[in-house]
Each structure stands twice: as C-alpha cells, then as structure tokens.
C-alpha cells in the first residue's frame, strides 16, 4: 500500500519524440486512478515510467516516500498487467504466478498459500497445471491478474488489460476488476483508451492528450465540468456538440449567437463569461441536453433553434438524431417515442443550465464555476 506521485515528469524518447510533457499527478493510497486518452497520447509511457521500464527524462517519481527514478523495476514493489498479458509460455499457470514470489525468496508453503488464494479469488484453481497456450483469452487475463495480486505489491499497474477481450467478456472482467479493487484496496493506475472503462472503474480519471495532462477529476466531475474542449469532446458518447458563434449582450440579456441560432444564456453563466462578450467562442452542449420542443418542459422562447433533421439512428430505447441549424451540424439524443423524419424541420431546445462556453483559441472552458475548475 502506498501512494504514487509523479512530479513534473517529462519523457523524451531517443530520437526526439516528446511523449509526456511536464506531468504532475498524485495517486492517493488505495485509489483507483485511470489514465485515459487517444492513441499515442503518452498513457503507456507514463505507466511504464512508474514501472521503471522507461527512463525518466526529467522530473521525479515517488512510490511511498521513496524516489524511484533510479530504482530498477524489480525493486519498486509494483506489479504490472500487460496488454498482451506476457505470461511465460513455458511455465504452468501455477509457476507463472509463483515466479515473482520465488525470486523474492518466499518459502514454498507461503507461495502455495498465496497462489491458491489468488486462484480462488479469480476462479482459476482448476487451471493451475495448464500452460498459457491451453487457456482462452479471458483465462489468460485472469492469470495475468493473479500473477500481479499474489505479490501483494505497493501498487498495481494495468496497461489496457481488457483490450484483447471480446465485448461481452470485457464488460464481465471490468466488473470483476472493480470487485477485486474493492476487496484488495491496493493503489492502482489503470491505462485505457475506453472511456466507459475509465468512467466505471476510476475513483479519479486523468485525461491526457498529446503528452499533456488535460484534467484530473472524479468521473462525474469530468463529465459535468470539463476543463477544456478536448476533455469535453473526449468524455461522453456521442460526443459533445460544439457550435461556432459569438457572445453578444443585448440590454440585460446575454446571448450565444450564430447563423440561424440565438440562445439566451442563463444569468449566472452570462456573468461568468462577461469578459468574453463580443468575442467568438465555441458553444458546447451534450446530445442529451438537446431536446425536441413539445417533449420537454424546458422550452422558452429564447433557448430554441429551428433545425433540420438529416439522419435518424434508432437505438431502441432512444434515438440519435443528426440535425443542422444555420449550416452547423449537431446531434441530439432523444427518447424513441419522439416521431422525427429525415427532412423535418423541428424546434430544438437547448438546456441552458447545462451548456459550456469555450474560448475559441485556447479551448479553455470559460463557463466553469471557480470551485469546479480543474482538480
């Protein structure tokens, strides 16, 4: 058990690729922290630096109270689960799990007990004598996790452990990992590019892009208060809509205004974006906060835009509706009993209590209340 802290860490690969830029993070003891971001954003690099598999170009990494920059992986007291599991092909499941303990000189009886215990938790007791080749993907995954937990390390590191499983198994294992963490309470850093995994597993989520940490926050804070355009667009499916336009003030009222769209801002929001009046911005609204007039109690005169339906995708319980207003495309997620046909023109209502305004150039969310800002 330990906390892990990453302080101003930068990684430049030989050849000059800047993979991680000045990252600072603090993983609390017993926390489940998820690193999420698009491919190539530096998630694995960050994790591998914690593991000691990559050298740190600049900065400090601590595990517990110890600076581990120059500590080899074997002495860091961490366990890692790799994307392709990296089980030792020539060893049985038992030996795979016992390997780390044996190297650390545990007595045979202790090794037996620990392996048996872990195997029981993971439901692989009947597989202990098999070689990895004779296991299914899901079973291999369990063995890889088992190999990590027998060690009772200070921290677990997972690098996309579920990405090689089929969709159904992934959901199943996701729940099991959550259960496992609840039971073991070991500090965990978990890398994924699947935002559903991130939202369901993480105590806190770190969103990375292009080597930079964008935001660190609990899942729902991240969803409701994205720090910038990237986070807003990355978390949530379908992604948040962004409309281009500008902020204008007319008397007491403030509006977001674009071709064919004029939405009145809620007074508190208007106050927060006062400094940007008259400037161009990006107006962000999630698909579930765009509704059809007549099917919602939120409609007033000044939060509505006449829109044309371009595509309708029924999903059963709800439908994804592609719309166009004033030449800009956006998406709405509406109940499936709302009757909409391609070509219809409807009045779409924007839930102005849940919209975001982003600086057009920096992408920073300028509509955040101070206290909800980046954790």
């Amino acid at each position: 058990m330990a906390e892990v802290s990453i302080e101003n860490v930068t990684k430049i690969y030989p050849g000059g690729v800047l993979a991680v830029k000045d990252a600072s993070l603090r993983v609390e003891d017993q926390e489940f922290l998820v690193l999420v971001g698009p491919s190539g954003c530096g998630k694995s690099t960050t994790l591998r630096m914690v593991a000691g598999l990559e050298e740190i170009t600049e900065g400090i990494i601590r595990i517990g109270d110890r600076v581990v920059n120059d500590v080899p992986p074997k002495d860091r007291d961490i366990a890692m689960v790799f994307q392709n599991y990296a089980l030792y092909p020539h060893m049985t499941v038992y030996k795979n799990m016992a390997f780390g303990l044996k190297l650390r000189g545990y007595p045979k009886a202790e090794i037996d007990t620990r392996v048996a215990e872990a195997a029981k938790i993971l439901g692989i007791t009947n597989l202990l004598d098999r070689k990895p080749k004779a296991l299914s993907g899901g079973q291999r995954q369990r063995v890889a996790v088992g190999r990590a937990i027998v060690r009772k390390p200070a921290a677990f590191l997972f690098d996309e452990p579920l990405s090689n499983l089929d969709a159904k198994l992934r959901v199943e294992m996701r729940a099991e990992l959550a259960k496992l963490h609840h039971r073991l309470q070991t500090t965990t850093i978990y890398v994924t590019h699947d935002q559903v995994e991130a939202m369901t597993l993480g105590d806190r989520i770190v969103v990375m892009n292009d080597g930079l940490i964008q935001q660190v926050a609990p899942p729902l804070v991240l969803y409701d208060y994205p720090a910038n355009v990237f986070v807003a667009g990355f978390i949530g499916t379908p992604p948040m809509n962004f409309l281009k336009g500008s902020l204008v003030r007319e008397g007491q009222k403030a509006y977001f205004k674009a071709d064919g769209i004029k939405i009145k801002l809620a007074p508190d929001l208007a106050g927060r974006v006062e400094a940007h009046m008259g400037k161009e911005v990006k107006f962000g609204v999630r698909p579930e906060n765009v509704m059809v007039k007549g099917y919602t109690s939120l409609s007033e005169d000044e939060n509505v835009a006449a829109s044309q339906v371009t595509v309708v995708e029924p999903l059963g319980d709800e439908q994804i509706v592609y719309l166009q207003a004033g030449g800009q495309d956006f998406i709405a997620k509406v109940d499936s009993h709302v009757r909409l046909e391609v070509g219809d023109t409807t009045q779409m209502v924007f839930d102005v209590g849940r919209v975001h305004v982003f600086d057009k150039d920096t992408g920073v969310n300028i509509s955040l209340r101070e206290k909800a800002a980046v954790a």
Partner: protein
C-alpha cells in the same frame, strides 16, 4: 511463441508433387539422394570386406564380415584417440559457441544495451570473412601466444597462479578457441533472429516480477529458445566435427589430431600397408555421429532451416 506456431504445422510433402517444374526438381533430388545413399552403403559394405576382395570385385558384397577392420582402425590406426580428440574439441566448441552467442543475442535483442546495433553488425561482418583467409594471421597470433612459465600472486612460498608450458598451437584448447570464434557470428545471427520472435514484454514482465537481467535470460529466454539452441548446436556440431583445414594446420602432434585429420594420416599410411578396407572402417567411424544426428534429429534440422527466417 505465437509467431513460431506455423513451424509446428510443418510437414514434409511425401510422394510426387504437382506441377511440371516441381516434378523435375523432385526427380533430380531423388537421383541425388539415391546416389548419396549408394555411396554411403558402398562405404559401409566395403568396410566389412578384405583388401583382396575389394580389388577383385569393387562392387561385391562381403563374403564374411571383417569386423577386424574396425579393430585395426580403432586401435592400430589410433582412430580411438582421434575420436576422443574430436569429441572433446567438438563438444567444447559447440558448448562455448552456444553459451556465448545466446548471451550476445539476448543482449542485442532484449536489453537496452547502447551498442546493440553496432555489435550485431560486427558479428554479421564476421560471417563475411572467408575462414581460410584467417589461417595465416591466426597461426601467427596463436604461435606468439604462449606461456612458458608464469607465476602470479604469492602467498608465502606458494604461487596462487602458476602456468607452465601453455601453448595454443598444437593444443586442443587452441582449436576449441578457433572453432568457437569461427562459429559465433553464424550462431549469433541465427539466435538474434530467434530471440526477436520472442515478445520483449516477457523481459519487462520478468523485470517487474523481480528478475535481474541474468535471471530473465536464464529462466525465461533460454528455456524459450530451446528450439533455436538445438538447431544452432546441430549445425555447429556438423561443421566442427567435419572441419579439416584448421585442424590440419594447427595440430601436428599425432596424439592431438581430430578424426578428419587422423583419417588422412590413416589414408597415407594405408597406401603403403595395403589396408584400404580399414580406411573405409575409419570413414564409417567418422560418419557415424553425423549420420545418427541426421536420422534422430531430422525433424529438428529441417525445421531449423527456417528458424531465424521468421522476422518479428
């Protein structure tokens, strides 16, 4: 290992293959095979005949098997001694080659050793040097490397290290060093190819599990590269066992000669003593290990031809 999986499914084709080109090739290979087998059989059969029989009808069968030929070859013609030398030199050389090369190949492919690439090309360049070109320089080098009397580190009246009359010419150790050196480039080349097919994540996994570089090599990669190790060991064995040129140049002491060279002295001797069939017996003794290896490990050898060809 997954990338090597297809090797397991390898089964040699039997019978006449399809396609005219393949048929022609098949016939040529079959003829060649038949010719080789005939020659071998002739040698074996002749080794059991008498000289008179041989000269009266070269292609005949033995009237009564002359096992005495083997006895003559083994004892009088010193084939026993030659065989012992060959076994010592070949096994030691192959062992050293495989140990050194597997470590080098591991360092080149699975560690972040800074000079991995230059080192690999250095070994590769070694394969481009014709061995016979090395005869003279090697001879000069080894000739100059000798220790008549060297004593180091005294404790009271005793020397901890005391070497006397240590030579590398006319010495089995010298020959072992040469063979090992000559074999390393090829062995490193094949083994790097093999190691590259093994996932690097295994090394990382082992490192996190608590293994140091040596443990990772010894406990993970060495066992996993067994097919590759066996293959290079076989090829190097065949080469070293049959090597003639270096053995001839570097060994002149009768008691230290290896089989191929010894056989030549036997041939010289038989020219005067009229004991040709004993020479044939000697040939059989020389061939026997090679033949046995081919028969027992045929599978391994044919598979081995593709080891290293599988690139990551």
């Amino acid at each position: 290992m997954a990338r090597n999986e297809h090797l397991k499914d390898y089964t040699p084709t039997r019978g006449l293959p399809s396609g005219l080109g393949n048929k022609i090739i098949f016939v040529i290979l079959a003829a060649w095979g038949a010719f080789s087998v005939m020659s071998l059989l002739w040698i074996v059969v002749t080794s059991l005949r008498t000289d008179q029989d041989l000269f009266s009808s070269p292609w005949g069968l033995p009237s009564a098997p002359q096992w005495v030929n083997y006895k003559i070859a083994w004892t009088i013609a010193k084939m026993g001694q030659y065989t012992a030398n060959s076994v010592i030199v070949t096994l030691s050389s192959v062992f050293c080659m495989v140990v050194i090369s597997s470590m080098a190949a591991y360092a080149i492919t699975k560690t972040d050793f800074f000079a991995a690439k230059p080192l690999f090309f250095y070994f590769l360049a070694g394969m481009a040097v014709p061995a016979s070109l090395l005869l003279v320089p090697l001879f000069m080098t080894l000739k100059n490397f000798n220790i008549r009397d060297l004593a180091l580190f005294s404790v009271g009246d005793y020397w901890l290290i005391h070497i006397k009359d240590f030579y590398l010419i006319d010495s089995r150790l010298g020959l072992i060093l040469i063979y090992t050196t000559l074999g390393i480039p090829f062995t490193v080349f094949v083994l790097t190819g093999f190691f590259r097919t093994l996932p690097t994540a295994l090394a990382e996994s082992a490192a996190v599990d608590g293994a140091n570089e040596y443990t990772t090599f010894y406990r993970i990669f060495l066992p996993l590269s067994k097919p590759g190790l066996i293959t290079v060991a076989i090829f190097n064995f065949l080469y070293t066992w049959n090597e003639y040129q270096f053995a001839l140049v570097f060994i002149s002491n009768e008691r230290l000669k290896t089989l191929p060279v010894g056989l030549y002295s036997l041939a010289l001797a038989t020219q005067h003593s009229n004991n040709w069939t004993a020479l044939f017996a000697g040939l059989v003794i020389l061939m026997l290990p090679t033949l046995l290896i081919f028969i027992i490990l045929e599978d391994r050898i044919t598979k081995g031809l593709t080891v290293g060809a599988v690139k990551a």
